[in-house]
């Protein structure tokens, strides 16, 4: 991952929301990098802030949001020249004209509500195309047909005229992907694109995204809570909790050598098909209330490996390898030697053995 390959760089992003009941500190200092051709996954549960950080990248934050500090640097090619802009400093209109759809496209979770029920599928695909690329209707329609073909919809010339309600859930999500790809963007952000779909359809959509990525060289950011999905698609993983990235690393490092107790909890909480344990290890408690900020580590109340310092100071990112970092005081040299739970250790050994086969 060379430095000149860096196309998206989020630095120290900090966002709050003003609500009736007080300020919600949703994002508390997030650093994230995306390189060309890479697939980065953001894993987290509700309230982790994964969707909000990507909404900031797209410039579609809610009106009551306040960006306290941070920058989102995006590098793209315009007329052959390389340009770098700070998306947070741009106004909505400029973002919509220059970035959205054209360079960064987003696929949302629910295909039912991402498509306009009153417009035909073809019309929705060519809408963005004609706006950004100023091409004629006929040419746009031809491109739309080839896009539908690329996303695996059979008989695309007929489907162009269909309305969203005439398509199944899986097909609708394919159409959403086609719309996102219409203007040949550099970055595709997928916000839980398969959560609302059946597992067999999910497998196909994931394979489709991988194929598109290989063919078109797009960089993908994947937001999900499903570690199985992450294992399938991601190169690099960021684990988020309560508005912070608590662990990040290459995919092998996260799955085979996790260091943060939250990551241990996530990995243990999923039964895989070979689990024979009597009890699933579950992270106790519930997701944090983002309105009540406590000093120190936000994960401490649910962390059975918490240290006293976790109540006072927030842990910085500790380096494990050049690509693997974890924000936990357990990695400090003074910290007691704590190992991951034995069930998780066993499972990882099992997985490694299976991988060797």
């Amino acid at each position: 991952m060379q430095k000149d390959n860096l196309i998206l760089s989020i630095r120290n992003l900090d966002i709050s929301f003003q609500t009736n009941a007080g300020a919600v500190h949703a994002i508390r200092g997030v650093d994230l990098d995306l390189h060309r051709g890479e697939t980065v996954a953001i894993v987290g549960e509700s309230g982790s802030g994964k969707s909000v950080s990507m909404k900031a990248v797209m410039g579609i934050l809610d009106k009551n949001s306040v960006v306290n500090h941070g920058e989102i640097l995006f590098t793209y090619q315009e007329n052959g020249i390389s340009k770098t802009v700070d998306i947070l400093k741009m106004d909505r209109k400029t973002i919509r004209h220059t970035i959205n759809g054209r360079h960064i496209a987003m696929v949302f979770q629910d295909p039912m509500t991402s498509l306009d029920p009153t417009m035909s599928v073809g019309k929705q695909i060519i809408e963005g195309m004609m706006l950004h690329e100023h091409i004629g209707r006929r040419e746009a329609l031809e491109r739309a047909v080839s896009l539908l073909d690329m996303v695996g919809i059979p008989e695309p010339e007929k489907r162009i005229k269909n309305y969203p309600h005439q398509l199944s859930g899986g097909m609708r999500q394919r159409v959403v992907i086609a719309i996102a790809l219409a203007c040949d963007p550099d970055v595709l952000i997928c916000d839980e694109p398969t959560t609302a779909l059946d597992v067999t359809i999910q497998a196909k959509i994931l394979e489709l995204i991988k194929k598109i990525q290989a063919d078109m060289g797009i960089s993908v950011i994947y937001i999900t809570h499903d570690l199985g999905v992450v294992a399938k698609v991601a190169d690099y993983v960021n684990v988020m909790y309560a508005g912070n990235i608590v662990e990040k690393g290459m995919i092998d490092e996260i799955f085979y050598d996790p260091r943060h107790p939250y990551t241990w909890g996530l990995l243990s909480a999923m039964p895989d098909l070979d689990t024979n344990d009597e009890r699933l290890y579950a992270i106790p408690g519930s997701p944090p209330n983002l309105m009540h900020e406590r000093p120190g580590d936000a994960f401490a109340p649910r962390n059975i490996y918490a240290l006293n310092i976790d109540d006072r100071l927030m842990p910085p990112m500790f380096r494990v390898t050049d690509t693997h970092y974890a924000a936990t005081w357990l990695l400090h040299e003074n910290a007691p030697k704590v190992e991951m739970p034995p069930e998780l250790k066993e499972r990882i050994l099992r997985m490694k053995k299976e991988a060797e086969r």
Binding site: A21, G29, P284, A300, P301, L307, N308, I309, L313, H332
Partner: protein
């Protein structure tokens, strides 16, 4: 926070790196603290128009109750010698307004006349005061206005309350049972709805004597349909919700499900709709009185007052002003209040 290890900045305490122990994570103590009615009240308070309307309505109600009491006249007391006298208020007359004088436009020019003056030379006035003036039969307009307000409010509130009870039950039952029951009930409501209010009132007049009861019944008969539609729509929305299904699986009777489970969730909407119906009822009553189908003399309501004062509108315009202002205020304020209530009980936040 992505600082690399900068231990030089951070000072550690002894015991920092000891495990806290797992007992503290046992019970789940999290919960949010705000409650539905508190938040709704906050939202309402922020809406200046709604708060102003609420205060105005309360003022009008207070005046309707106490206004006639503090006046020396009754609403039907006539004084033939003191007809069409202009408003005269103690204290304000020294400022030059409300001093009992009115300017009359006649064919020979504008004449300034003051009926209270007993001695033409000195300009000394007698001891009588009519705060809003007197009407063509010598009755005090102030007393009649507030008595009329009482009647209008009474009719409106009674009619709307009964509407709510009937309409709500009708709509809830129709929506809940669906199918054939719903079809029949809705067709019946549509038929009733298609008969104009005026026709119903006129028919009622033929059967019953004109009076307070008749008007109230007339309003009742036509107003419940709007309420029933709202109740039915809300019921249809909530019928398939999982908490309703849960009640079914626990063996709840239909009555219990409708009134104990579903009704509390739609009461906000019903209250708002009730608030909207009150100005409608007030105006309908005023209109009926204006066209002469309302309550009979000497009883008065805002509408009948306006109707009566309309006759002397060109000669003594001051007579029509008080009931018109009160009517306009009531309607405007009830509408704004209902608006404010609807926004406060905003369905986005806590309702289904």
């Amino acid at each position: 926070m992505t600082d690399m290890q900068n231990n030089a900045y951070i000072s550690f305490l002894p015991g920092d790196f000891e495990l806290k122990g797992a007992e503290n994570t046992k019970l789940d103590m999290n919960f949010a603290s705000q409650r539905f009615w508190k938040e709704a009240a906050m939202r309402f308070r922020k809406n200046k128009g709604a708060v102003f309307s609420l205060i105005t309505i309360l003022l009008v109600i207070l005046l309707a109750i106490f206004g006639p009491m503090i006046s020396p006249y009754t609403y039907q007391q006539q004084n033939i010698k003191q007809t069409n006298w202009a408003p005269r208020v103690q204290g304000l007359e020294n400022l030059g307004i409300f001093d009992g004088s009115e300017s009359l436009k006649t064919s020979t020019g504008t004449k300034l006349k003051n009926a209270y003056v007993v001695d033409k030379e000195t300009g000394a006035k007698n001891d009588t005061y009519y705060w809003f003036g007197s009407d063509a039969l010598g009755r005090d307009i102030w007393t009649r206005t507030w008595t009329g307000t009482r009647v209008s409010l009474y009719i409106a509130v009674v009619a709307v309350l009964i509407d709510m009870l009937i309409g709500m039950s009708y709509g809830l039952i129709s929506g809940y049972f669906g199918g054939r029951v719903d079809s029949v009930l809705q067709r019946f409501a549509e038929i009733i709805n298609s008969i104009p209010t005026l026709v119903i009132v006129t028919l009622l007049m033929l059967i019953m004597k004109p009076g307070l009861m008749t008007i109230t019944i007339a309003l009742m008969l036509t107003g419940w349909i709007g309420m029933s539609r709202i109740a039915r729509a809300q019921m249809l929305k909530l019928k398939e919700q999982e908490f309703v299904l849960a009640s079914h699986t626990l063996g709840a009777t239909n009555f219990r499900v409708i009134f104990s489970e579903i009704l509390p969730n739609i009461i906000g909407q019903l209250i708002t709709n009730t608030m909207f119906s009150i100005p409608n009822a007030i105006f309908t009553e005023a209109f009926l009185s204006f066209v002469g189908l309302g309550i009979p003399e000497p009883m008065c309501s805002l509408g009948s007052l306006i109707s009566y004062a309309f006759k002397s509108f060109t000669t003594h315009p001051f007579q029509i002003v008080p009931p018109v202002i009160v009517l306009a205020l009531l309607m405007l304020c009830f509408n704004m209040l209902a608006d404010g209530l609807r926004d406060a009980l905003d369905p986005k936040m806590k309702e289904m």
